[in-house]
């Protein structure tokens, strides 16, 4: 079997030429991608990039204006059996405020045609896994924000779907809940295919096997987080912030720095330098900066992030 055949066999969702327009606004523009079985697939992009619109089409909540979404061997996008195999945790918490945690999970289980016994068992298991066991009999609108978010994730999983869609799962979570949710998502890896949308690079980086960076409805890049970070140049990155807002003799200074490191550019108020073995080069870099009449206030040394990838691809930060 060659690589293409393996990919075909592992593909759960095959999206081709997917387009969605709202009047003149093209929210998703000719999107082509494949999502493989058992992977955590991250959609990374700023607000309004088309992430939620894409997952709404995947879930069958929205009709594509063009293109296709093929689930394994199914071709009907609104096939109810396919839809039942997807669990969705929407961006905003959606539940019945006048039902307890247990009641609404059990109710949703029954809606997905689980037997009463199985629905009760899954309800109990999920509440325990998400740290909501003690809140089982509390009305949903009495829960804290983090607990509501966790309940929202439980609702997506009650029918044990093969595909789990998490739209900004860590949004509005306190640090404790964030760790709990992150660990829970990691625990589901391989067993389920997880589609994650986020504008949080750290979340995408830590959780995703592959990340699709989208902006203005278009796919900019798709690969593993490490590949994406390497794609903009290997090595570390140093961010230098000066005491004054304006660089003295900036062009001359950049030319001198480029003799030392390959990538030197200004980003807003900082000077960004990328190179291998940057730690050893820092004394030389500061000397050049000082020699051009500038005074360094702060030096930040770090690895490439997905945000750097986004800046590299779009020329701007994630909004």
């Amino acid at each position: 079997m060659n690589t293409n055949q393996t990919e075909d066999n592992n593909t759960v969702i095959n999206i081709s030429h997917l387009t969605k327009s709202f009047g003149d606004l093209v929210a998703v523009d000719n999107l082509d991608l494949r999502i493989f079985q058992g992977e955590v697939f991250g959609f990374l992009g700023p607000n309004g990039a088309g992430k939620t619109t894409t997952i709404n089409m995947i879930c069958g909540l929205s009709k594509p204006s063009g293109g296709k979404i093929i689930f394994q061997n199914y071709s009907k996008q609104n096939n109810p059996n396919i839809r039942a195999q997807i669990g969705i945790c929407p961006q905003e918490n959606i539940f019945w405020p006048k039902l307890t945690c247990r009641e609404q999970l059990h109710f949703m289980g029954r809606m997905y045609k689980l037997s009463a016994g199985l629905s009760k068992k899954r309800t109990t298991d999920l509440l325990e896994m998400m740290g909501l066991k003690e809140k089982s009999n509390v009305l949903a609108d009495k829960l804290s924000g983090g607990m509501k978010r966790r309940l929202n994730i439980c609702m997506a999983l009650i029918h044990d779907p093969e595909i789990l869609v998490l739209d900004e799962p860590e949004a509005g979570l306190d640090p404790q809940s964030r760790v709990l949710v992150r660990d829970f998502i990691i625990s589901l890896k391989r067993d389920k295919t997880i589609i994650l949308t986020t504008h949080n690079m750290d979340e995408a980086d830590r959780l995703s096997d592959r990340v699709a960076i989208i902006d203005h409805g278009r796919l900019l890049s798709l690969n593993t987080p490490s590949w994406l970070k390497k794609s903009i140049g290997e090595g570390d990155l140093v961010e230098i912030i000066l005491e004054t807002e304006k660089f003295q003799r900036a062009d001359e200074m950049v030319n001198s720095l480029k003799k030392l490191c390959k990538q030197v550019k200004f980003s807003e108020k900082a000077l960004i330098i990328k190179s291998k073995g940057l730690i050893g080069l820092i004394p030389g870099i500061t000397e050049i900066i000082n020699n051009h009449g500038n005074k360094v206030m702060e030096i930040r040394l770090r690895e490439n992030t997905l945000e750097d990838v986004f800046i590299y691809l779009t020329g701007r930060k994630l909004r």
Partner: protein, 388 residues
Amino acid sequence: MKLLSVINKCTREQIRNFWILILTVSMAPFFVFIYYLIIESTKPHYDLLILNRDNGIQTMGATINYGDLLIQSAEEFENDTSEIPLSITKSDNKHTALKRLRTLKADALVIIPENFSEVIHNPDMANDTINTEIEFIGDLTNINYMISAIWANEILNQYMQELTQENKPIKIKETSLGFSGSINDFDLVVPGILILSIIMLMFSATVAIVTEVEQKTIIRLKLSKITAFEFLSGVSIVQIVVGLVSVLLTGIIAHWLGFDFRGSFWSLLLIAVLTSVSIIAFSLILAAITKTVSEVLIVGNFPLFLFMFFTGAAFPLEAKELFTIAGYSVTLPGLMSPSHAIIALRKILILDMGLKDVVPEIIAVVLLTIIYFLIGIWAFKARHMKVE
């Protein structure tokens, strides 16, 4: 099974939305109570004034005033017929009497003319030039005037019969239809208020559906395998139960306040269930055109007022016939199912008719319910359940 789960969920939510539930089921019983207080404090009463201008006549050395005798006869009639809410008051001058009529302190004024005794005593002299004329004065559009005038006429006839010793060749026998002879104003409004208690479901049912749209839980239902029919049926069944509880409470309060239930209980129950289904079906149309509870409260007032005031629910209403179908009159209010339900309940509870006598009304309610349901489910699916 899904239907049972929806019923279970909706029941819990309905009970926990305590205030909506309480207001829905208590509105009509409260309405009955208020109606009773108003009607009891304004029981029908007719005030008749009599002004005697009769000069009397001299006969055999004595003065006879037939006007005074007429008043005396009227007072005897008043005393003998205590079940008739008629008060007869003698008036001294026309000015004061007219003032009482204008200020609604009296309903009718009867003026006995100056030559009354003269004409009564010597009827042969009554001709084209000499006669007597008893004048009735009052607001001709006021039903109290009409009833007071009828009684005044009756008193006058009896008096003339006594004077002339004439026998009436024709006697009129009055037979009441069903229990209509013994009912009062309160009894008359109770069937309408029983249906009003179901009309109040309109808000409760619409809110139960629209809440799913407003809090976006409809998305979860759309993603599951539930159909619009299963979901709406579950909501409807809970609302029917709420409607029946409201009817039951209204009936109990009405009975406690003196309403005598006649007719078949099962016929009443059947009509209550059909009307509940009909109102819920109409609520689907309302739910389809609204997206939030606030919108329901604003938009819902329009059909609520139509259903309350133009079906006969709040007060008895006679409407002009538009056309007939198989001998059954169709009126403009007839486009609203509660109007047929109210007619059916009046027939059963007041006119002591059976279920077979209200078949046309039942058919009308069922047909309108089917129309409401078809429009409601189509519109709801198109607005809230479709994939955009």
